[in-house]
């Protein structure tokens, strides 16, 4: 009887466990989902999608910044005046999280210096400036017909060497992202074609015109990630042409094109993952933690060009849009093309132009200086008129309506963060997960008091980061200070030990001497030794006690110091400006020495005078 119940209970337990596993698998299975919040701003994509991707005449000077990606700046490889070919590597990656930079056009390096770059600070950064020639000759590339014959490491090296960074916006070095560290098994590759920000249509046009290449790139990416189970290409449903062409291109492959409802910011990496897989990337985690790798369509295209043709990333498709322009379209721009040149080629009316924005109206930033260059992450140049994008009205007091919390795509409490940011309460800000904010600008968009919320968050993030850096530095300083104290104490101790040892040795020697001299007074050896010591002592005494000699030596030193001083002075009058600094230092040194010699001389003389008296 009891055995039967036992058996049945075991059965029940087993079935329950199976059910649990099935439920877990079902949960893990991909389901389309949605993220909380989000907004529906006007799309404004039609202006720039009427024309195919265009080209503009090459700019006279290409300004190539060394820092176009997340991570460390690249290190220049070229010299001033050197001729470079198109596609030649002109700067090498510095460390793992960094990207090399290639010449976007052939020509001559005319400057390696700080230049204004596209950054909200308006600060300068190191750039290589290339004066382009007419020829525009490519360097020899290293094509590869069958990428499957290459090892994963070789492929990654190739992608890394071609300077490919995420073209979606952040510019994270792609090779790093494609080699997820840790033991996360990647079962899903997501290709981000959602391009949710208003006005921007660079990815849209790329998908319409170069779908085959993108799919070929996706094949390489999937191969690199060991053929994940699901490969999803996510596109917002406001791009029907792109969806259609991409569907046609993936026909016959196992890739899926998924279209979903348009909502800002569905193109955020974590939001897109949530939409397509219903998995949520953990706080301060990476997509790899939930088995996903996400890459932009532009990146897939660049990877294809890099692997198959060996072509480095030297140009990108950028949306040039805004009512202040006569022609609005997408263009393929060489990296380093000045924004002013792009605007001029599209018939900008500067009277109408309100400001120039790099990026879209939600996450972009305005630039004051139009000479800044296009970089790898520049997906849009927006030149709106005053009417099109009026400046934000002045901020008013928060009325605690809570609209911002409703639209936040990461479920933060923007209004709470706003209070804490204003009061500089850093611990509270971190407790309310400020660093999970993706700065999408949805909260500022809906704020009825038009409070620039994101600006507060950016400022606070920067302040917290700076404070952390300082804390780290001060900890290091403390460590070094303590170590130095320890070292000095040790040196002092070692000296003391030596002193003691010497003292002891002298004591012993004296005792022995006494012992030796006492019983056998007439020993010849001892006598001799004593003589030697006495002679040495006498010598030393003689050397010390001859003031005339000492005086003479000092005199010699003095005259030679004077000589040296004069010589350097003479040289200084003849020297060029570059040598002058060094000579001046030498002169100062000589002066110090001369002064020392004079002082000693004087002292000695006085002493002598005293003695004579």
């Amino acid at each position: 009887m009891s055995s039967v119940t036992e058996r049945s209970s075991a059965k029940e337990r087993r079935s329950a466990r199976d059910a649990r596993i099935i439920a877990r698998d079902a949960k893990r299975k991909l389901q389309p989902g949605d993220f909380s919040g989000g907004i529906y701003p006007p799309h404004n994509k039609a202006q720039s999608t009427a024309e195919p991707i265009g080209q503009i005449p090459l700019a006279e000077d290409l300004i190539v910044p060394l820092h176009q990606h997340i991570g460390a700046s690249a290190i220049p490889l070229v010299k001033l005046g050197q001729r470079v070919l198109k596609g030649e590597k002109i700067a090498e990656a510095d460390g793992l999280i960094s990207c090399p930079v290639h010449a976007p056009g052939s020509g001559k390096v005319i400057a390696i210096e700080p230049q204004p770059v596209a950054h909200p600070s308006g600060m300068l950064a190191d750039c290589i400036v290339i004066r382009t020639d007419v020829e525009q000759r490519w360097c020899t590339l290293n094509p590869c017909t069958d990428f499957r014959s290459l090892e994963t490491d070789q492929l990654l090296e190739k992608i890394r060497d071609c300077g490919i960074a995420g073209l979606g916006g952040a510019g994270f070095p792609s090779a790093v992202k494609l080699a997820p560290r840790g033991n996360w098994s990647i079962d899903t590759l997501i290709i981000n074609g959602s391009e949710c920000e208003p006005y921007i249509s660079a990815d849209d046009m790329l998908m319409r015109e170069r779908a085959e290449e993108i799919v070929a790139g996706v094949e390489i990416l999937a191969h690199l990630l060991d053929e994940p189970d699901n490969v999803l290409i996510g596109i917002e449903d406001n791009k029907p042409e792109a969806i259609a062409t991409m569907r046609k291109a993936v026909h016959g492959t196992r890739f899926n094109v998924v279209s979903f409802a348009t909502k800002y910011p569905s193109g955020g990496e974590k939001q897109l993952i949530q939409i397509l897989t219903k998995r949520e990337v953990p706080n301060s985690g990476l997509p790899a933690n939930v088995g996903v790798v996400c890459q932009n369509v532009g990146t897939a295209y660049a990877v294809y060009r890099a692997v198959v043709f060996g072509e480095p990333l030297v140009s990108r498709v950028t949306t040039v849009v805004g009512e202040a322009l006569q022609q609005q379209r997408n263009v393929e721009l060489p990296i380093g093309t000045p924004v002013a040149h792009v605007l001029d080629c599209h018939g900008v009316e500067r009277k109408q132009l309100q400001r120039v924005v790099i990026g879209g109206p939600m996450m972009g930033y305005s630039i004051d200086n139009e000479s800044v260059p296009v970089i790898k992450t520049t997906n849009c140049i927006l030149a709106p008129t005053w009417h099109e994008l009026p400046p934000a009205p002045p901020a008013q007091d928060c009325i605690r309506c809570g609209l911002c919390a409703e639209v936040c795509p990461v479920s933060l409490l923007p209004q709470q963060l706003y209070w804490y940011a204003r009061a500089d309460e850093r611990e509270k800000l971190q407790a309310y997960n400020l660093f999970d904010c993706i700065e999408c600008g949805a909260c500022s968009y809906v704020c009825p008091s038009s409070i620039p919320l994101v600006q507060y968050y950016r400022a606070s993030k920067g302040a917290i980061r700076l404070a952390e850096e300082e804390k780290e530095k001060s900890d290091r300083a403390r460590e070094r200070f303590e170590y130095r104290k320890l070292r000095l104490a040790k040196a002092e101790q070692a000296k003391e030990v030596k002193r003691q040892a010497r003292k002891r040795a002298a004591e012993i020697a004296r005792q022995q001497n006494q012992q030796n001299t006492a019983p056998q007074n007439g020993s010849a050896a001892a006598e001799q030794e004593r003589d030697v010591v006495a002679a040495a002592l006498a010598r030393v005494k003689a050397r010390q006690a001859s003031p005339e000699q000492q005086l003479a030596r000092l005199q010699r030193t003095l005259t030679s110091a004077e000589h040296r001083f004069e010589r350097i002075q003479k040289k200084l009058t003849e020297a060029t400006a570059s040598q002058q600094a060094q000579l001046r230092a030498q002169l100062k040194e000589a002066q110090v020495k001369l002064q020392e010699a004079r002082d000693k001389h004087k002292q000695m003389k006085e002493q002598q005078a005293d003695e004579e008296q």
Binding site: V117, H119, P452, A477, R478, Y483, A585, V592
Partner: protein
Amino acid sequence: MLQWFSAISTPLLMLGGIALLFGALLGFAAVRFKVEGDPLVDQVDALLPQTQCGQCGHPGCRPYAEAIVAGEAINRCPPGGQATINALANLLDMEAPTLDAEHGIEDVKRVAFIREPECIGCTKCLQACPVDAIVGAAKQMHTVIVDECTGCDLCVAPCPVDCIEMVPLEITLQQWSPEKPLSAAGLIATDRLGSLSADEAKKVSKRDVA
């Protein structure tokens, strides 16, 4: 008599026994869980900026932390500035005073810079640096490791050729972050018209009217 004695002695003995037991326990805990040094000094030291500059009158940050715990004023650290004073006041639960100007004033962050062609290699600054942030050897050129320099100023005085200067530490592009927006309470749209050109102002007012 005996009964009376036992009635008194039993509780006395019991209480005494308990007292002895707890005494032994406390004694053991005092030895076993002894804390080396003063933990409050560590906490104060963690808040100080570790420039080791000696502007407070102590030879380093830790000695000053010890002095603070012993009752010295907390407003003698110019490199830390008001932020450090506030943090210290918060920790020690007292009113935050303003910086004592006698010990110096709050300034931008600086680092030492050696004009290398002028350096004669005397190693005097090496010995003065409290955090070993200067590299060099006798008769060799010296230079400052910028990342390790705390800007304490102690190397400037010993230099016989005056080739060390304190340069303001520039913020890099990666470190930059936007300023907090100015609080615009009480500002209305038309207040801004003054700062706009006439053409722009017309446009704004037209839009507001419409």
